[in-house]
Each structure stands twice: as C-alpha cells, then as structure tokens.
C-alpha cells in the first residue's frame, strides 16, 4: 500500500499502462504540461498537449482508437464534453454497431466535475447520466484513489469507449492505494459497509456522505449497507438487487440532478425486479433541476449531505403501509 491522492492515482495508472502497452497515448488540454513526468518517461509523441478544442481532441481519439491506438484524453471539465458530444456519442458510441462490428474504440475520456472548487455551472455539471443513456459507451466515477487507479487501468484495457468522471471534491484527498498491478473491473460495485436495515447506493463524493450517514444511523440502531457503484454502465444490478433483497429499503444518492439521473434508473430497476422485497418506497436524493451555483453555501446545498441521507433512511425504517 502507498498513499496517493486521486489525481496522483490517475497518474500512476497512466504510467503503468503506458509502460505495459505501447499503443496507449495521452493527449488533452494541458496534460503534457501538468503531467510532465509522463512526457519525460514516454516522450512528446505519446503525451501531447492539444488546442483547447474538445471536438477535435475527442474526434482524433475516436479516429485513433478505431484504427489501432488506445488513447486517453483529458477534456478537463465535464461541461466541456458538450463540445465533444458528436465525437463521443455519434462516433465512438455508434460506429462499431453501424459498421456491423468492423471497428472497436478503446478510448478513455477524463473529465472533472462536482462541488468543491466553486467553479460554477459551466465547470461543474454532473452530466454522467447523458452518457449512460448513450449506447456503446461505458461510464465510471470512482470515490477514492484506489478505485480511480484500478478502474482507469481496466478502462484503458477495455475495448470500448469509457467516460471517466473525476470528482473535483475528491481530487486531492489522499487514500491508500495498492502498489503494482491491480485493476478494478468495470461493472462491479463495492459493498463498503454491510447492513441489514437499509441500502444506501451512491457513487463519487456522496459515497462518503452515505458512510457518514451510516455512522449516524448505527447510533440509532439502524444498520445501513453502503454500496459504491463505481461503474454506472455497466451497472452492477446484481449487487443492488442482492442488497435490497436483504434490507427491503433503498436510498439512492447522487450529486447529479435527480431528474432522469442514474438514481431514477436504479429506482426503476428495483421496482421492476425487487418489488416484493420492498418494505418502503425507494427514495432518491440528488441535486435540483438547476445549474450549480458558484457561491460556496449554494454549491454545497446542491449536494445531498449526510444529515439528509440519514434522515431519509430513518424515515424509511419507520415507514408503515397505510
């Protein structure tokens, strides 16, 4: 084990995968400047700065991935993905299918988002559900440095385009990371805390809020199970359903706006597949249908906090059918 921030865990994964596979290259907005150690080890051909033009960065990555390279691109902030939507959604996500399987697109797109820096709605927009809704793409969002490293290594080795969201609020928080070869498979959730009364499902920074809530709930005699999804697509449906079968109660928590968010899909999944297990309605906690404000208290108010999660879970545990 070694202690790394999530940002450095990303760097470690890039280094290891570039050593392992010469077809891996990284390019994006300032990546050669900010991760100069990669330039020193792998050279300017494999580590490139780009113009601030997300469309051509993503298009170039899709073209390269479709013809033999394994690019990782850094588009900085998730709202900037809007400039790359055609390339990611229409090209990376569809050209394998539309060509009858002639091409594959092993490509990873890095983008930061989330509360923490007060950067406002054009740098902070948890738009991950857009990509979950787009066929052909995989989507991950780690909550800690160890998963960031393991998931990124797996994403680079995956033959599909992967959207890799980095939570701004977690970026410089240190965490224990296993040394050496360790991948975290895409599509596999982690049960971070076992419990039998209520299931708390989340990803990104709100996983930590769920863990805090679970502590609070434990003090009240409620045993909460906390699941970190890690991957949003593929979604570990089995892990969610197994937990709900045990607890009969579910709170889904994410920073992204609630409307048509990942939580809606999970609530629908549980309604369809685990209806008879449910002892109470599913609760979703997420951001409002509003852009994120820059002002610190407003930015924080956007994000479901531990108190609200604990209160929702407690209400579910007291729920009685009319």
């Amino acid at each position: 084990m070694t202690t790394l921030t999530l940002y450095d865990a990303v760097g470690a994964a890039l280094t290891e995968e570039m050593r392992r596979d010469h077809s891996v290259l990284v390019f994006g907005e300032g990546i050669a400047t900010k991760r100069h150690d990669l330039v020193q080890e792998f050279g300017a051909r494999r580590v490139r700065n780009t113009p601030l033009a997300e469309g051509i960065i993503a298009g170039t990555a899709v073209g390269a991935a479709g013809t033999g390279l394994r690019p990782v691109i850094d588009l900085l902030f998730a709202p900037f993905l809007c400039y790359a939507m055609d390339e990611l959604v229409n090209s990376a996500g569809k050209l394998r299918y539309m060509s009858g399987g002639q091409f594959s697109f092993p490509l990873v797109t890095l983008a930061m988002t989330g509360a923490g820096w007060g950067v406002g709605a054009q740098h902070n927009h948890n738009n991950e559900a857009w990509f979950v809704h787009s066929p052909g793409l995989k989507v991950v969002m780690p909550s800690n440095p160890a998963d960031a490293k393991g998931l990124l290594k797996a994403a680079i080795r995956d033959d599909n385009p992967v959207l890799f969201f980095l939570d701004i609020g977690l970026l410089y928080q240190p965490g224990e990371v296993p040394t050496g070869e360790q991948t975290v498979p895409l599509g596999k959730a982690a049960v971070l805390r076992a419990g039998s009364d209520v299931t708390l499902v989340s990803y990104g920074k709100t996983v930590h809020h769920c863990l805090q809530a679970a502590d609070t709930l434990a003090g009240k005699g409620i045993a909460a199970e906390v699941i970190d999804l890690r991957s949003l697509k593929p979604l570990d449906e089995a892990a969610i359903l197994a937990s709900v079968a045990k607890t009969g109660r579910l709170v889904v928590v994410h920073e992204a706006n609630r409307l048509c968010g990942v939580g809606a899909e999970i609530a629908a999944l549980v309604a369809e597949e685990a209806f008879t297990s449910l002892k109470a309605p599913v609760v979703r906690l997420g951001g409002p249908d509003a852009p994120v404000a820059s002002s610190y208290p407003l930015e924080q108010a956007f994000v479901p906090q531990a108190e609200a999660i604990a209160a929702a879970a407690e209400r579910l545990c007291c729920y009685q059918h009319a």
Binding site: G55, I56, G63, G68, P135, D159
Partner: protein
Amino acid sequence: MNPAHHETDPRQLLQQMLLIRAYEEAIVAGSGTGKIPGTCTSVGQEAAAVGVVNALGADDLILTNHRSAGHLLARGADPGRLLAEVMGRSDGYCRGHSGSLHISVKELGIVLTSTIVGAELSLAPGVALSQTMLDRPGIVVCFFGDGAACEGSFHESLNLAALWNLPILYVCENNQWQAFVHRREATSREHISDWAASYGIPARTVDGNDVSAVFAAAQEAAAQVRESGRPYLLETWTYRTRGHFEPDDQAYVDPAEREAWLARDPIAMCRDRLIADGHLTPAQSAAMADKVASRIAVAQAFAEASPFPDVSELTRDVYA
C-alpha cells in the same frame, strides 16, 4: 503497387464512372417504386470520386461520408453487397446495420464512415495519428463536402493536422449544394481551398468533372502528402445533379445552373474525348455500358435475394 506512379487506363476510369452512375440510377429507380430506400446519390460527381480513388495506393485509408457510392465502388466494393446494405440485408458490408448513409468497408481501407456532416473531418487526424505512430505505410484521404467545410470540425481538423504534421489528403467535393442551401448562401469565400492557406496547408481547386484532371491533381497531391508527411487540400469543383436525398423534386434549384452543369456531364465528357482521341470506339462504349448494366442487374438480384438480418441482431456489436 507503387501508388504515386501507377498508370491507369482512362477507359477503366470511364468504366468505373459508368458503374457508379448505373448503381445510383438503379437506386433511384428502386426508390421510386419503394423497393429500395432512398439515398444521397453522387450522380454528377463520378469523376471527382474516380479520379481521386484511383490515385491512391492499397495501403491508404479513406474516410467518406453519406454520399459515398462513388468512393466505395471506385475502391472496388462489390455493388451487390453495397445494395444489400442499402436494402438492410444481412449480406451488406455492415450486416444491414448501416443502410446507405455510413458504409464502412475495412478490408478496402474505407474506415469509420459517418453521416454526421463534418465527422469525417474530426476523425481523420486520429486515423493519420495511428498511421504515423504505428509506422504504417499509407496516407489518409478524407472526403467531405462544401457543407462540412462550414462545420467547426473542418477548421479544428486542419489546424491540428498542420500542427501535428499528419499525412492527410483532404478532398473537398464542392458540389455547390449544402443539403438544400446553395454554397453561395453559406460560405464566405468562393473556394474551400482558400481556407486551407490560413492553416499553412497547400491547396488546389481542380475541375471535378474532368476525370483526367482530377486523377492527375490527386496523384500530385497524394505524392506531396506522402513525401512531406503533411496535409494537403484538394477541392474538386463539381455538381450534385440530383437532389440532396431521394426523392427530391429540386424545385429550389436554378434550372439554368443545372443545365449548364449537365452539359458538362463527367461521363459524357470522358467518353467523347476517348472517342475523339481514338482510344475508344462507339461500339466499345456501348459494350461497356451493357457490361455495367448487367453487373448491376446481377448485384440487384443478389441484394434482393439476401435475407434480412434476424431480430437477434438488434443488439449485436454494440459493445466490443
């Protein structure tokens, strides 16, 4: 094959243009009766496609777009499998998942075809990056229209290709029409080639209806890309004689403009010159047309006999 210097019999170029025209006309006829879905035909633009594709080597990779039949057939694609794809049949090059608009044929080096206007331009630098970083021979040829040149991806692509020294031959088929809008309503300059200069990219406009001129210009352009490892932009000045999509009554087209271009039909021009120069007799010309017609009839029969994909194919090839 030594791509920069191979000789091509002009009669073969004529034969390819006739094949493309017959293929497109079969689709037009079929779409009129509902037998074949409508497509974006390349009628009138045959010389632009044939002249460029024949100047390429087997290792070169091609990106094309929704108006692709000329590029595909000139590259040697089987018209039967193309028609099967257009008709959504399982023997199509993309197993019926593409239809007419985004046909890729990887085995012929026609890769990542997208119908999104300008997407071919966004993808081309990455394909060229693969060629150079994986030390593969072969340049990248990117066909797009004057409409795509108005997309931001055109400008981003040229900037990056110039900056990163990418071996891309950009070929703008300026067919005067951007869907239902004349290029004069949409572009600030007369020629797309004018824009290349601002990126330091050499460029030239050639008569796109003269197959020999296109072929010569493309050979020169491709040789320059090969030699320099840098981009070049060739604009083929041509005309889309049919509508944007079948069916299209073209009521928005100035009849005088269309008549003037029809008088410069690339196939008639090539055939008349070959006959005048003594390289072709009228009888040989007629035999050529017959041969092409029977090839298309066979292709159409093949496509019609090909089964539709099984519904189990609905979610095949979404993920690798």
